[in-house]
């Protein structure tokens, strides 16, 4: 079977600093990583391939340096990497991103065979919308399975798949027809370490680099800034609370006394709370 995994290269947010004066994000020197949520999608795709055979194509849209992310994925075991990169894509919001990625998936299908499953991560750590997956599904008419915790069964002959997904208030077990789009829930598997041959192959592998035209995108007005209905108007830092916390002196006092003090202040600030607690306590 053919599986496509969409991965995004993101700045390692643990290392992002905000400029204290200009409030802009200081990206210089910040290392990039594969969006951590996408690794669960990649691992699940590789497991599926190991089970039923076939190929895994990883796809990313981003600047030329996003090639690194694809190479990393190849080193983990993916078969092929496609980089979608073009100045037309700059400034894409989720609608424009899902348009471009959907077109690229279509082209990947024409080139190497239509994918039975397309995977995305649950969300990105920079965009953080969880909307690109559903957007791709809708545009390609794929059956949408979000927040998937496990793939319970796949039957390529019958063209069906059964999954367990996180739903509101419980776990929903669904079956649907292929082709399907799966957004993988985090913590559901553990990304493998690439084998030595994979790592060596990845270093030399040829990455497919596509611009809009190569991906078969003629409607560039649907891409990038122009294809994005949303606009970022203002970026700003959260305002600090005017007053610092009122302090309860704890030094050189027994903990019992401090605790009494804290309790009294809680009840002073929340006069109804003591009575409420009493009611709950009486119910014990």
């Amino acid at each position: 079977m053919h599986i496509v995994v969409c991965i995004k290269q993101v700045p390692d947010s643990a290392q992002i600093r905000v400029h204290p004066v200009t409030n802009t994000i200081m990206r210089q020197g910040v290392p990039t990583i594969i969006n951590p949520y996408d690794l669960f999608a990649l691992e699940e795709a590789l497991r599926l391939r190991d089970k039923v055979g076939g190929e895994v194509t990883v796809l990313t849209m981003g600047p030329p340096m996003a090639e690194d992310a694809l190479r990393k994925a190849l080193g983990i075991g993916a078969n092929r990497g496609v980089l979608l990169t073009d100045r037309f894509f700059a400034g894409s919001d989720t609608l424009a991103t899902s348009f471009a990625l959907a077109q690229a998936v279509r082209k990947i299908g024409e080139t190497w065979g239509a994918p039975e499953v397309v995977f995305t991560g649950k969300q990105t750590i920079d965009g953080d919308t969880a909307q690109v997956g559903p957007g791709i599904a809708r545009r390609l008419g794929l059956n949408q399975l979000t927040y998937v915790a496990a793939i319970n069964a796949i039957d390529l002959e019958a063209g069906t798949i059964a999954v367990a997904r996180r739903a509101e208030g419980g776990v929903q077990e669904l079956s649907t027809k292929l082709p399907a789009l799966i957004t993988m829930l985090e913590g559901t598997n553990e990304i493998r370490r690439g084998t030595v041959p994979d790592v060596l192959r990845a270093a030399r592998a040829k990455i497919e680099v596509w611009n809009a035209a190569a991906a078969g995108i003629t409607e560039v007005g649907m891409c990038g800034l122009r294809g994005s209905p949303t606009v970022v108007k203002r970026v700003f830092a959260p305002t600090p609370r005017a007053a610092k916390a009122e302090q309860v002196e704890a030094k050189d006092r027994p903990y019992e006394a401090v605790a009494e003090d804290v309790m009294e202040r809680i009840f002073a600030a929340q006069p109804a709370m003591e009575a409420e607690l009493m009611r709950t306590a009486a119910g014990y």
């Binding site: 905000v18 100045r87 037309f88 919001d93 989720t94 609608l95 750590i125 920079d126 953080d128 919308t129 969880a130 909307q131 690109v132 997956g133 559903p134 957007g135 809708r138 059956n143 949408q144 739903a167 208030g169 419980g170 929903q172 077990e173 669904l174 079956s175 649907t176 027809k177 003629t218 560039v220 007005g221 990038g224 800034l225 209905p229 949303t230 606009v231 970022v232 108007k233 203002r234 970026v235 700003f236 600090p240 916390a245 302090q247 309860v248 704890a250 903990y255 019992e256 401090v258 605790a259 009494e260 804290v262 309790m263 809680i266 600030a269 929340q270 003591e274 607690l277 009493m278 306590a281």
Partner: protein
Amino acid sequence: MTTPPKPAPAAAGSRAGMKKELPERFKSYQHVWVFIEYEHGEVHPVGLELLGEGRKLADKLGVELAGVLVGAGREGLRQAAVEAWEHGADLVYVVDHPTLEHYRNDPYSQVLTELVNTYKPEVLLLGATVLGRDLAGSVATTVLTGLTADCTELAIDDDRCLAATRPTFGGSLLCTIFTLNTRPQMATIRPRVMAMPPRQPGRTGRLIEHKVALHEADIVTKVLRFVADRDSSKAQLAYADIVVAGGLGLRSPENLQHVRALASALGGDWGGSRPLVQKGWMPADRQIGQTGKTIRPKLYIAAGISGAIQHRVGVEGADLIIAINTDPHAPIFDFAHLGIVADAVELLPALTEAFRKRLSVNRLAG
């Protein structure tokens, strides 16, 4: 295929300079809508919270506030409509069909898309729950409009546009986003970010029943089974009145027992900062913050938590924030109401004891 338009200049400047010019066909889009999740016979509270916020937006715009209810079962939906009116809705659109009993992307997005295209709202709000996010992305892509996910603040600007503010880059910064030339303007908002509006018993409104032509046979996705969460703590933490949480300052997983003990003495729930999940000290559904739960309790006690921005955005809605930290310069003291520079491992048991004593004395007296 349309002819390719002339190439745009490479990422010309910022989008902020672009004009908000609404095409003619969108000018008839009016009113504020809230999608109200109704499943297993219950209304998800986030829908009611959004009605509270939607009411303010609708009043500012001088339009009506509508709730959208999709599901199966006449009586249950009718009850849900009453709840919507009593929480501020002027009218409620109801779609009642057997295929809509359990949430599935396909029929739900068909229905919501049809409602949007028929009645044309200018603003459409959904909860940023797993259901809301699953549905919102499909609908926004189908009607080709803008969607801002996980908003923490909504407002109407001078041009009658929805200004949707959300944290960006893991919460270190906020950004305000507009949907310029398309309608509806869609946004998702996490549970507990907006305050629950007071219920106005007896307040009523209109009900518009919308008939849809759905056929189970056309829907390829089938629900095989639904296993409700046994551990109902998932819902409780977000909605608990009192929450006690621990951070790395507790030093060892065993010390989390002091957090749990205080929470139980207060009849509340407990949670923690993200590193505790990463270290395997507690399950992920107990994480509080930007990538965990947003909470809005009356009382929040944070023990050994530094107060990083990603944690802060998840607790700021609490009425009273108490911080226990050994470092007098910890950022948590910047937004806590009451701070105690002390060892949490020692102070927590003392607090538990103090509350236990007070409550039992009162009980004997009463």
